[in-house]
Amino acid sequence: MLLTAVWVTLKLATITTVILMLLAIPMAWGLANMQSRLRPLLEALVGLPMVLPPTVLGFYILLLCSPNYAPGQLWLSLTGTTLAFSFTGLVIASVICSMPFVVQPLQRAFEQLDKGLLEAAAMMGAGRMDRFFNVVLPCTRRAMILAACMGFAHTVGEFGVVLMIGGNIPGETQVLSIALFDAVESQQFTEAHQIAAGLMVFAMILLITLYSLDRQPVAQLPLKSHPGRY
C-alpha cells in the first residue's frame, strides 16, 4: 500500500511538472513582456493558488469537474468517465495549484534577462524562435531547473486540493500526503512514521540541491562544456 502511494505520488508529480513547464514557460514569457494594463489581473489569477486555502481552490475545481458544469460535462461526453476522483482530475488540479510556483521564478528570470543580448542575437540574423531557444532558454536555465523543482516539490506536498478532488482511492488517487493522513486516522503509526520521515528527507534533499544550485556560478553548471577549437 505504501509503495503504491509512492508510485502514484511520483507519477502525479512528474506528469504535473512536465505539463507545468510546457504551460508556464510561454505564460511567464508573455507576462514578462506584457505592456498591457491587464497584466496585474493576469498575474493575480496565476498567483491566486499561493494565497487561497487549498480547500477553496479544491472546492471550485471539484465543481467544474462535476458533470453538472460544462467542463465536467464535456469530459464525460468525450471519455465516458468523470473527472472528479480520477487521476486525470488530480493532474489538472495539481497543475493549477502549483502554477504560480513555476511561473513566478520563470517570469522573474525573463524580466531580468538582458534584452541587449536578444538585440545582439537579432542583429546576427536570429529570428524570434531562434532567439528564444538559443538565447533566452539557455540564459535562464538555472531558473528553469528551479521552477521545475518547485513545481515537483509543491505537487508532492499538496494535500488540501488533492483531498477535495481526488479523494483517497489507493492506486488511483491516494498520494503520500493523503496516505499519511489515512495512516494517522487509522492509528497505523509505524506506517505514518515511514511516510512522514520519507517526505521530510525528500524535501530536505530537494531544497539542499536547489540552494547549492543557487550559489553555483552559471559558467560552472555542468550542462555543457567543451574546449574551444577551430
Binding site: 541587449g116 545582439a120 542583429m123 540574423g125 539557455p138 574551444g228 577549437r229
Partner: protein, 357 residues
C-alpha cells in the same frame, strides 16, 4: 547607398533625419549625448519600433511606414557593434563566434574565421569563458563575432566608449581595417573627435535630433565657427603620403605636399596615403624659420582665421599645402607675436604627439 528619411519622437524633440549616405565612405554621426544619434543608428537597425518614415539600403526597402513595410532587424543583414560587448554569457568565446558563423549572411566578401581571429588578436581567447575576459578583450571578441556574421552594412555605436586607453589603441586599428580590409560599409556614432578623426571619412553633425552639418570629416573638424573647433580638444586631420623610412633613427618621413613631417617609424610602404591627427594644443607657433630646436616638425603655414575661444585662449586656423592646421595659443602669445590673418608663420610640433592612421 543608404537612404534615410526617418522621424522618431523623443522626450524633448523629434528626431528627424533626411539624408543619403554613400557606402564607399565610412560615415560618422556626431553630437552631444542625448542628441539622438544612437536612436538614429538603432532606427537603421530596426531596433526602434516607434520610428516612422522610410529606409532604403541599395535597392532594398527596409521600412516604409506609408506602405506598411517593415523588415525585422534579423532580416536586414546588418552587423551592429554596441557600446557594450553583449557577448552571450552561456557560451564561451569560440561558441559566441560560432553563433555568428552559423547565422552568417550569404555575402560575397565573407571573411574567414582564421583571418578575423588573427586580425583582432583573439586566438588565445577562444577557449575562455566570457566572464574571464577584460573589457577590451570582450569588445574585440564582439567585433570578431559581428564580422564573422558577414554583414552587408556595419553599424557601430561608440564601440570604444567603455574602454581604457590601452584597449582603445589596440582596437582602433582593427576598426579602421574593417572598411579597408573586409570592404563592409560602415556607419558609426560617436561623441569623441579622436575616434571620428581616426575612423570616419564623412561626418553628419547632429543636434537636437536634426542634422546641422554634413561633409568631409577633415573639413568639418577644422572649420572656423564649427562646434568642433570651439574648445581646447579641437584637432586637425592632415592627409599625407609615406615618403621614406630612416631605420637608423627609427623614424618615418611623411610628405605633406612639398613639406616633410617626421614621426616614429611605421610599417606602411612608401607612397601609401595616410592620415595624421594633430591635436590643436600640441602645436606652437614660431614667427621666424628657426632650426635650432629639438622639435623636429616645422610646417610653413599662412594664418587664415583667428577665433576667440575663452578669456585665455584663441584658435588659429592655418593653411598649409591646401590643408588646414589648428593651433591653440594664448591671447598673451597672440599679442606678443602680433599675429594677424594672412601672416606667414611656422607651426612646430613633436613627432611623438602625432597619431598616424
Amino acid at each position: 547607398m543608404l537612404r534615410i528619411d526617418i522621424q522618431l519622437p523623443r522626450d524633448r524633440f523629434v528626431l528627424s533625419v533626411d539624408e543619403s549616405l554613400d557606402t564607399d565612405n565610412t560615415w560618422a554621426m556626431m553630437g552631444r549625448s542625448g542628441c539622438g544619434k544612437t536612436s538614429l543608428l538603432r532606427t537603421i537597425a530596426g531596433l526602434e519600433s516607434h520610428a516612422r518614415g522610410r529606409l532604403q539600403f541599395n535597392d532594398e526597402i527596409w521600412q516604409d511606414s506609408e506602405q506598411g513595410i517593415w523588415v525585422p532587424p534579423e532580416q536586414r543583414g546588418i552587423g551592429y557593434i554596441f557600446q557594450e560587448a553583449r557577448l552571450f554569457p552561456h557560451l564561451d568565446v569560440m561558441e559566441n563566434l560560432r553563433f555568428a558563423l552559423r547565422r552568417a549572411r550569404a555575402n560575397v566578401a565573407m571573411p574567414s574565421l582564421s583571418e578575423v581571429v588573427e586580425q583582432l588578436d583573439i586566438v588565445h581567447l577562444l577557449g575562455r569563458t566570457v566572464d574571464k575576459l577584460s573589457g577590451g578583450e570582450k569588445q574585440r571578441v564582439a567585433i570578431a563575432r559581428t564580422l564573422l556574421n558577414a554583414p552587408r552594412l556595419l553599424l557601430m555605436d561608440e564601440p570604444l566608449a567603455s574602454l581604457d586607453w590601452s584597449s582603445k589603441t589596440s582596437i582602433l586599428p582593427c576598426l579602421r581595417n574593417i572598411h579597408q580590409h573586409f570592404g563592409i560599409p560602415v556607419v558609426m556614432v560617436s561623441h569623441a573627435r579622436e575616434e571620428v578623426a581616426r575612423l570616419a571619412d564623412k561626418l553628419l553633425l547632429i543636434d537636437q535630433g536634426q542634422v546641422v552639418s554634413r561633409g568631409e570629416c577633415r573639413q568639418l573638424l577644422s572649420r572656423p565657427g564649427s562646434l568642433l573647433t570651439r574648445d581646447d580638444c579641437a584637432l586637425s586631420i592632415l592627409e599625407v603620403q609615406v615618403g621614406s623610412h630612416d631605420h637608423q633613427y627609427g623614424f618615418t618621413e611623411l610628405l605633406l605636399g612639398g613639406q616633410k613631417l617626421l614621426v616614429n617609424q611605421i610599417s606602411a610602404l612608401p607612397g601609401t596615403g595616410l592620415r595624421v591627427i594633430l591635436p590643436a594644443h600640441e602645436v606652437s607657433i614660431v614667427v621666424e624659420d628657426i632650426h635650432c630646436t629639438s622639435v623636429q616638425n616645422r610646417v610653413a603655414t599662412t594664418i587664415q582665421a583667428i577665433q576667440e575661444l575663452d578669456s585665455k585662449n584663441v584658435m588659429l586656423f592655418m593653411a598649409a599645402e591646401g590643408q588646414t592646421l589648428l593651433a591653440l595659443v594664448t591671447r598673451r602669445a597672440l599679442g606678443l607675436l602680433n599675429l594677424s590673418v594672412g601672416q606667414r608663420v611656422f607651426a612646430h610640433f613633436k613627432g611623438a604627439c602625432l597619431d598616424v592612421v
